[in-house]
């Protein structure tokens, strides 16, 4: 790779050299000095017009940028807040904006096997609370935002589907596969003089944390494999 870069720069070097190597007397004048300065003025004029247009354009076209978090720690805190509250069983402590939905599923089986699907590979907590009302399972789903460089990109991720088949509660978290973005970054030179500023080098991705509160009737036996993220609330 370095060799190709080196060869490329050598070519550019040779190009400029050939362009500029003739002496002032020997060169054949394609443009007069006046014309050349007019071309330069035209170029600078185009650049200045671009600057004016730039300030009339929105700086982004993506929703949620205004609410972007400033640091990776803040995004981490969001997830940690959900995770810890769910572990404690204090679901009321989870901010309301993280509530994805509630679902009541009629259920008449004696046993329940939880199939978490791909959730066991993400930050997720499934808390089971025993309730007295029979014949239904209630699921309350919370999720902290997915953030990329502090920007909420949760809309790229579909909500986890919750269904029952026979005696199984199946949680299906679908994956968007690959998401591509383009980003226009500040000049790299700024990273030398403004180290705290964003230079566009690297990205900060923070996956959302999912929390499910399952309200399961006491008469249903929950068949649980040794899953650390499934826990019973007292």
């Amino acid at each position: 790779m370095i060799i190709f870069q080196f060869m490329f720069f050598c070519l550019v070097f040779a190009g400029i050299f050939l362009l500029f190597r003739k002496t002032p007397r020997k060169r054949k004048n394609l443009f007069s000095t006046r014309k050349m300065f007019m071309i330069l003025a035209g170029y600078v004029g185009i650049l200045l017009v671009s600057m004016v247009i730039y300030y009339f354009l929105p700086q982004h076209k993506m929703e949620g940028v205004e609410e972007a978090l400033g640091s990776w720690e803040e995004a981490f805190e969001e997830g940690a807040e959900v995770y810890e509250a769910a572990h404690r069983g204090d679901f009321e402590d989870i901010p309301e904006e993280y509530l994805i939905g509630e679902k009541t599923i009629p259920y008449d089986k004696n046993t329940l096997l939880i199939q978490p699907g791909m959730l066991d590979e993400t930050m997720a907590v499934i808390a089971i609370e025993r309730v007295e009302n029979e014949g239904e399972i209630q699921v309350i789903h919370y999720r902290s935002p997915y953030r990329l460089d502090g920007i909420d990109i949760s809309h790229e991720f579909e909500n986890t589907e919750i269904n029952t088949v026979e005696n199984q509660l199946i949680l299906t978290a679908s994956s968007p596969g690959e998401i591509s973005y383009a980003q226009f970054t500040k000049p790299v030179i700024l990273s030398q003089f403004n180290p705290s500023g964003h230079s566009g080098m690297g990205i900060n991705y923070h996956a959302g944390t999912e929390a499910f509160l399952l309200k399961v009737p006491e008469n249903i036996e929950v068949l649980q494999e040794d899953e650390s993220f499934i826990q019973f609330l007292e």
Partner: protein, 246 residues
């Protein structure tokens, strides 16, 4: 022998004016180089990706960095070419000596650095506007592209000092080549391969820390100004000792 007396300042001023309007091939090459760089910028300055079990996220980044690097290269080559015999002999059309000629060259290079700085910093806006209208709305995200006015000033200051460094280095290297071609090629080879070995030798590490890791623009500018002054003075002294034109 001339009957009219002319001061060094007047001679430098006249030669500077002449160079400014006569050596416009440098301006031509600056425009061409920057236009090529703008085209190259759309290939993408880089990118990064991250993934977890669920998703792979890739971000292609675009910036005016290519324009900056090409302009630094342009400045370096322009400075070298000013020291070539053809350009030096051109000065003898005027009432001149080597000092006035080289001072005029220095002023010309400073003007070139200023022009390069203005066009490089402003090219960010042109790139952003083209990027904005040619990319799909789904793909643009991120921060203010050109930065705040304060950041613009920082970028302009940094760019100017880098161009000044390239000019001084190129000029000094050009003069070395004029004195001894082998010496010039040896110095050029060190300069070209220096970045590859920057991290491996103590002295290169020190150079890198001294210049490239200086986070204060004021101190960086001071370091570059002093270094450039040293290089220009060395070049003037070296060329001043050359024999007269035959």
């Amino acid at each position: 022998m001339s009957l009219s007396k002319i001061t060094l300042g007047e001679a430098v001023k006249k030669q500077y004016k002449y160079k400014l309007f006569s050596y416009y091939d440098a301006i031509k090459s600056l425009l061409i180089i920057q236009l090529i760089a703008i085209v190259f910028s759309f290939i993408g300055s880089g990118g990064s990706s991250t993934s977890d079990m669920n998703v792979t996220i890739s971000v292609d980044t675009y910036s005016s960095d290519v324009v900056f690097f090409f302009t630094v290269l342009w400045m370096f080559i322009t400075a070298i070419l000013l020291t070539t015999r053809a350009y030096r002999y051109e000065d003898f059309s005027f009432i001149t000596n080597r000092i006035s000629s080289q001072l005029a060259n220095t002023l010309y290079l400073l003007t070139g650095a200023a022009a390069g700085t203005i066009t490089t910093v402003l090219s960010t806006f042109l790139l952003y506007v083209i990027f904005y209208f040619t990319n799909s709305s789904e793909t643009i995200f991120g921060y203010s592209a050109a930065g705040s006015p304060g950041e613009l000033m920082l970028a302009a200051g940094g760019t100017f000092f880098y161009l000044l460094a390239a000019a001084a280095l190129g000029y000094f290297l050009g003069v070395l080549t004029q004195i001894n071609r082998l010496l010039g090629f040896f110095a050029a080879a060190i300069l070209l391969f220096l970045p590859m070995f920057l991290g491996q030798f103590y002295i290169f590490n020190q150079i890198s820390t001294f210049y490239f890791q200086e986070s204060s623009l004021l101190l960086f500018g001071l370091k570059i100004l002093l270094s450039a002054l040293l290089l220009f003075c060395a070049a003037i002294l070296l060329l001043n000792k050359r024999e007269v034109r035959v």
